[in-house]
C-alpha cells in the first residue's frame, strides 16, 4: 500500500497541472498581502467604520494573524475548486489516458488501487493547505508582525489576545484539512463514473457552488435543510476563533465557545468522506473497465 501511495504521489507531482493550484494560491495570497501592506490602514477604517467611534484600538490590529484570517476567509471558499482539479482527475484522467486498464491488469486489488489514489489526492489537498499556511500565516506573521486578533462579525466583535491565537490557527488548518479531503472524496467519487476529467471536475465544482449558494440564501426552505449540505460544515473552522463567555459576559481566553458544534461538523464531514470513498470502492470493484 505504501509503495502504491508513493507511485500515485510520484504521478501527481510529476504532472504540470498539479502546480496550477500552488501558483494560484501564491498569486492570491501575495496580492492580498501587497494590498494590505500598501492600503492596510484604509481597509481597517472601512472594516471599523461603524465601531471606531465607540472603541479605542490599542496595538497593531493590522498584524499577521489578522491578514491570515482575511486570507483564509477568501481562500477556503475557492481552494476546494483547486482540490477538485486533481481529485476528480485521479481515476477519470487515467481512463482518458488509457492507463487505467494497464493499472488494473497489475497484481493489485482494485480496492488498494483506489485507496492509494484517494490517499494521494488527500495528501495533495493537505500539502496545498500547508502551502496556504506557509504563505498566509507564517509569511504574514513575518511581514506584518503579531498582536491580538479582531474577529469582526455582524453582531459582535471578538478580540483574541496575541498569545491565544496560534494554537487556534493550528486547529483551524486541521479542520480545513478535513473539509478539503471531503471535497477530494466528492471529486474522487465523480471520477469513478467518467472517462474524461472535465465532467467530474465540473460536477464537483457545481455541487460545491450550488450547495454554497443554498447555504447562504436566507430562505426558510433552505434554512431548514442547509445542515444536510456538507458545504455548511466546511466553514466550521471559524468556530475556533470564538471564545466562551463567563457569567458576566467576559471572554475566557484559551476556550472555544461551541466545541461540540465544531466537532459535530467535523464528524459530519468525516462521514461524507467515508460515504464518498466507500461508494467509490463499492462501484469501482463492480465496474467493467472499457476505456
Amino acid at each position: 500500500m505504501w509503495s502504491l501511495l508513493k507511485i500515485e504521489l510520484f504521478k501527481v507531482f510529476k504532472r504540470p497541472r498539479t502546480y496550477i493550484a500552488f501558483i494560484a494560491v501564491w498569486a492570491i495570497v501575495t496580492l492580498i498581502q501587497v494590498a494590505i501592506y500598501v492600503d492596510g490602514p484604509k481597509y481597517m477604517d472601512f472594516v471599523m467604520k461603524d465601531i471606531k467611534d465607540n472603541f479605542d484600538v490599542i496595538g497593531n490590529p493590522l498584524n499577521g494573524y489578522f491578514v491570515c484570517f482575511l486570507i483564509l476567509q477568501t481562500l477556503l471558499i475557492h481552494v476546494p475548486l483547486l482540490v477538485a482539479l486533481v481529485s476528480a482527475d485521479m481515476v477519470a484522467g487515467e481512463a482518458n489516458m488509457g492507463t487505467l486498464r494497464l493499472l488494473i491488469t497489475k497484481p493489485i486489488s482494485r480496492t488498494k488501487l483506489l485507496l492509494s489514489k484517494f490517499i494521494a489526492s488527500s495528501v495533495y489537498a493537505i500539502i496545498l493547505l500547508i502551502w496556504i499556511a506557509i504563505l498566509g500565516l507564517f509569511v504574514s506573521m513575518l511581514v506584518f508582525g503579531t498582536d491580538g486578533l479582531m474577529n469582526v462579525k455582524s453582531y459582535e466583535i471578538i478580540i483574541l489576545n496575541g498569545n491565544d491565537i496560534f494554537w487556534r490557527y493550528i486547529c483551524a488548518f486541521g479542520y480545513a484539512a478535513i473539509a478539503l479531503i471531503t471535497v477530494a472524496a466528492l471529486g474522487f467519487f465523480f471520477s469513478i463514473f467518467a472517462e474524461n476529467s472535465l465532467g467530474p471536475i465540473v460536477a464537483t465544482m457545481s455541487v460545491i457552488i450550488v450547495f454554497t449558494i443554498l447555504t447562504t440564501l436566507d430562505i426558510p426552505l433552505f434554512q431548514s435543510v442547509k445542515h444536510l449540505f456538507f458545504t455548511s460544515h466546511m466553514i466550521g473552522w471559524k468556530g475556533f476563533f470564538e471564545m466562551k463567555l463567563d457569567a458576566d459576559g467576559v471572554s475566557i481566553p484559551g476556550t472555544i465557545r461551541n466545541l461540540p458544534a465544531v466537532l459535530r461538523s467535523a464528524g459530519i464531514l468525516f462521514l461524507h468522506i467515508v460515504l464518498f470513498t466507500g461508494g467509490s470502492i463499492f462501484i469501482f470493484n463492480r465496474k467493467d473497465v472499457l476505456s
Binding site: 488509457g98 494497464l102 491488469t105
Partner: protein, 311 residues
C-alpha cells in the same frame, strides 16, 4: 501438454448485446496463439475478461491451473499485457515508466536491468525522453517492455500492431518471435491483420460474433487441398484448353481476362508447371493464394459487410 489458459463456456452480455457467446479454448505452454476475428467479433472483450478488466456473465477462466476469480493476484503477477494502444503517462520518461510499473508488479529491478529491457525493445537511446515525444511504434514497443518488466510467463497482446507503419509492424513481429523462441514465453495475440498472425502463430482461434468458428494448429487448419494457385498466361483461353486437355478441368475454379484460379494439392504444382511448359504455354506468373486471409474470409464470408470489388 500443460494448459496455460483454459476458457470454458465464456459469455459476456452487455445489456442486450452478447459480445462473447459460449466461447471455449485452450492455450498450451509455449504457444504463440493467434486470436482472430473481424472488428467487433469479441476478441477484445475476451481478452479484457482474461485480464479481469471486465467480469464474465457466465463461464470459467483458468490460468496456470488456477481459477481467475479466486487467484487473481497470483495469476496477474505472472501475466504481461498490451491492450490495444499502450497509452502511457506522457509526462514520464520511458525509464520512469518502466520503473513505475516494475514497482507496481512488486518486483525489484535494478537500473541496469531496466536499461536492458529498454535495449531489448530498441529504446535504450531514448530512455530518458518523455513519452510524449515518442512515435506510435516506440510507444507500442515501450508498452511491450512494460508488459515484460516483471518477466511474466504469459503475454497477452491485444491488437499490438494497430496503427503502426510497416516498420513498426515488423518490429513487433520480430519481438514476438524472439519472446517465443528465445525466451519460451506463451503468447496470446489478437489481431485482425491476418497475415501477421499467419507469420507468428502456431495455433489459432477464429471467432465471429462472439462465437468460436474454428480452433487448431495453423498447419492443421490449412489442408493442402485448400491450396489455390493463380495463373497468369499470355493467352488465358488457350491455357484453359490446355488445362482441360490434360486432366485439370476439375481443378479450375475461376477464369477471367486476368488469369485462371486453380485449386490443387501442393505437390501437384511442379507437375502442372512442367505440363504447361511442355505445351508451350507462355506463363507470366504463378501466385500461391493459400493464406490465412483466404481461409479467414472463407469462413467468415457470411458476415461480409461489403461485396468484393470486381473490375
Amino acid at each position: 501438454m500443460e494448459s496455460i489458459i483454459k476458457v470454458t463456456h465464456l459469455t459476456k452480455v452487455f445489456k442486450e448485446v452478447t459480445a462473447v457467446n459460449d466461447l471455449s479454448f485452450t492455450v498450451q505452454k509455449g504457444d504463440v496463439y493467434g486470436f482472430l476475428g473481424q472488428n467487433g467479433a469479441g476478441k477484445s472483450t475476451t481478452i479484457r475478461m482474461l485480464l479481469t478488466l471486465i467480469t464474465a456473465t457466465e463461464g470459467h477462466i483458468e490460468i496456470f491451473g488456477y481459477d481467475l476469480n479466486k487467484h487473481r493476484k497470483k495469476i496477474l503477477s505472472n501475466v504481461g499485457a498490451v491492450i490495444e494502444r499502450p497509452d502511457l503517462y506522457k509526462y514520464l520518461t520511458a525509464f520512469e515508466t518502466l520503473q513505475l510499473f516494475a514497482k507496481m508488479s512488486e518486483v525489484k529491478i535494478g537500473r541496469q536491468q531496466l536499461m536492458e529491457q529498454l535495449e531489448m525493445v530498441g529504446l535504450a537511446q531514448r530512455a530518458h525522453s518523455k513519452v510524449r515525444t515518442y512515435s506510435q511504434g516506440m510507444k507500442q514497443r515501450l508498452g511491450l517492455a512494460v508488459a515484460l518488466v516483471h518477466n511474466p510467463e504469459l503475454i497477452i497482446l491485444d491488437e499490438p500492431t494497430n496503427g503502426l507503419d510497416p516498420q513498426g509492424i515488423a518490429d513487433i513481429r520480430n519481438l514476438i518471435l524472439m519472446l517465443s523462441q528465445k525466451m519460451n514465453k506463451t503468447i496470446l495475440v489478437s489481431s485482425h491483420l491476418l497475415s501477421e498472425i499467419e507469420q507468428i502463430a502456431n495455433r489459432m482461434l477464429i471467432i465471429d460474433k462472439g462465437k468460436k468458428l474454428v480452433e487448431g494448429s495453423v498447419n492443421e487448419l490449412f489442408s493442402p487441398d485448400d491450396t489455390m494457385i493463380f495463373l497468369e498466361t499470355a493467352d488465358n483461353i488457350i491455357c484453359v484448353n490446355v488445362l482441360r486437355a490434360n486432366g485439370y478441368a476439375s481443378n479450375i475454379t475461376s477464369v477471367d481476362e486476368k488469369g485462371i484460379e486453380l485449386k490443387l494439392r501442393k505437390e501437384q504444382v511442379p507437375a502442372l508447371t512442367r505440363m504447361l511448359i511442355e505445351n508451350n504455354t507462355e506463363i507470366l506468373g504463378i501466385t500461391p493464394r493459400h493464406s490465412l486471409e483466404d481461409y479467414f474470409l472463407k469462413i467468415t464470408t457470411a458476415n461480409q459487410h461489403v461485396e468484393p470489388f470486381k473490375n
